[in-house]
């Protein structure tokens, strides 16, 4: 898909334990520029924890993370600089409740990047346009629908011009009829060459957008491969079982375009 085959994100042997439970047991993978990696797996398999270990919101017990060749773990450099390169979109949106949509998108630019207020506002408006929400710019989070909130949160992350976008089950908290608008935005990003790691249950979306699908269960990578292979003829029995359950539960929730 893209000439430039640089490795943007590299994750090696991530281990994380919460009290007695080992949630991640040695996860490793790489993401090249323009690639979309989709991570699937049962609840509690550690997928969200994995994403948070990448941007160090959760500190892994063992393992290393590199972004664009620089090591993020075990570094003296402030993590904040690295986080600017990784955009994160949360399942619960986590929009800042006390500022309107435009404010949410521009605050990172003003307070973290130190951008001039007018430039920041312009850029923020531009990002909101990209997700189709310029008319809602002055509304507050409590006045937005779930789908709108998530799109604002995507705009907020994109405004920082990240090298990689991390999506933590972006549509799991949405009512079914709102899922489509968010998946559209994410698909557009993939088509335009954004490097992404997406944790999701939306199989139709995974099939149409992923370069590679990773199946994680009980903290380990069980299966890994192109969507075609993984969905039609997975290598491992557990993968088959999981996919079977999911298609039973969700059916075909999003039509592929």
């Amino acid at each position: 898909m893209h000439e430039d085959n640089k490795i943007i994100l590299k994750v090696e042997e991530i281990y994380k334990r919460y009290r007695k439970e080992e949630v991640l047991r040695g996860i490793s993978f790489e993401v090249r520029k323009g690639e979309t990696k989709v991570i699937i797996g049962p609840s509690g398999s550690g997928k969200s924890t994995l994403l948070r270990c990448i941007n160090q919101l959760t500190i892994p017990d063992k393992g290393q993370v590199w972004i664009e060749g620089e090591e993020v773990t075990h570094t003296k450099k402030s993590i904040n600089q690295f986080r600017q390169k990784m955009g994160m979109v949360f399942q619960d949106f986590n929009l800042f409740d006390h500022i309107n949509a435009l404010g949410n998108v521009e605050i990172g630019l003003i307070r973290v990047k130190g951008m001039d207020k007018n430039r920041a506002r312009e850029k923020a408006m531009e990002e909101l346009k990209q997700v189709g929400l310029e008319k809602q710019a002055y509304l507050y989070p409590a006045q937005l629908s779930g789908g709108q909130k998530q799109r604002v949160s995507i705009a907020r992350a994109l405004a920082m011009d990240p090298s990689v976008m991390l999506f933590d089950e972006p549509t799991s908290a949405l009512d079914p009829e709102l899922i489509g608008e968010v998946l559209e935005v994410i698909k557009k990003l993939a088509i335009n060459g954004m490097t992404m790691v997406v944790v999701t249950h939306e199989m139709g979306f995974a099939r149409s957008v992923a370069n590679e699908v990773i199946f994680i269960e009980s903290g380990r990578i069980i299966d890994q491969g192109s969507p075609y292979v993984l969905f039609t003829n997975p290598e491992h029995e557990r993968t088959k079982k999981f996919l079977h359950k999911i298609t039973e539960l969700y059916g075909k929730s999003v039509e592929e375009k």
Partner: protein, 220 residues
């Protein structure tokens, strides 16, 4: 029975003077107490073990003991170890330290009621802890703390009367002096009471309007 001449010519002038002192006391103490409360609350929630414990002990002491005892310690006891306060400054110091503790509890509760996702999202954007607390957490927490902190502000206005107990002659003190001299306790303190009622009512109204203005649109 009600001696209007007395009230107008003998009582009101000293009361006015006293009110001025009360106003000075309040104007100095309220903002400072609030700021101290914010600092203590932030220290308690986000500080390391040492700072957090310090803030906890401070709050424990100043909320667990009467304001009057605190004032006595500041004005009468500290001189024995070389720290001297004027009556006015002793009162102000006591008010700031005491209300700071109460404010910190309201603000701490408010901070802890903010969803953890807010901090996560702020840090995910690359904000440092300090920036996240300053730009994301506090603006929301302070709004939630308004009812409690308003309550504390009203309390302070009333408890400013205790300044008289360390010989600072504010409104109540002025009244007592006149009342003792002319033996007209009921009249004097009814008037003093009415003044306090008026001030408290006005400030309460003002704080209610403030709360409405600061409300975040969409949130009830």
């Amino acid at each position: 029975m009600i001696d209007l001449y007395f009230i107008q010519d003998i009582l009101l002038p000293p009361l006015l003077e006293g009110s001025l002192i009360t106003i000075k006391l309040i104007i100095l103490s309220i903002p400072s107490g609030l700021i101290l409360g914010i600092l203590i609350a932030v220290g308690r929630v986000y500080g390391n073990k040492f700072i957090s414990s310090l803030c906890a002990i401070y709050t424990l002491f100043f909320r667990g003991t009467p304001l009057l005892v605190q004032l006595f310690i500041i004005y009468y006891a500290l001189p024995s170890i070389g720290i001297f306060f004027s009556p006015f400054m002793a009162a102000v110091t006591g008010f700031i330290l005491c209300s700071g503790a109460y404010h910190s509890e309201y603000i701490r509760g408010a901070i802890q009621s903010i969803k953890i996702g807010q901090m996560m999202a702020a840090e995910a954007l690359g904000m440092s802890r300090i920036k996240a607390v300053l730009y994301i957490i506090l603006p929301q927490a302070l709004r939630r703390a308004i009812p409690g902190c308003s309550n504390e502000i009203i309390y302070l206005i009333k408890y400013s009367s205790l300044a008289f107990m360390v010989t600072c002659v504010e409104l109540t003190g002025a009244g007592k002096i006149v009342a003792t001299r002319f033996f007209k306790y009921t009249e004097v303190f009814l008037v003093v009471g009415i003044i306090y009622l008026l001030v408290v009512s006005v400030v309460t109204k003002f704080l209610n309007i403030l709360e409405k203005k600061l409300r975040i649109p969409g949130l009830e």
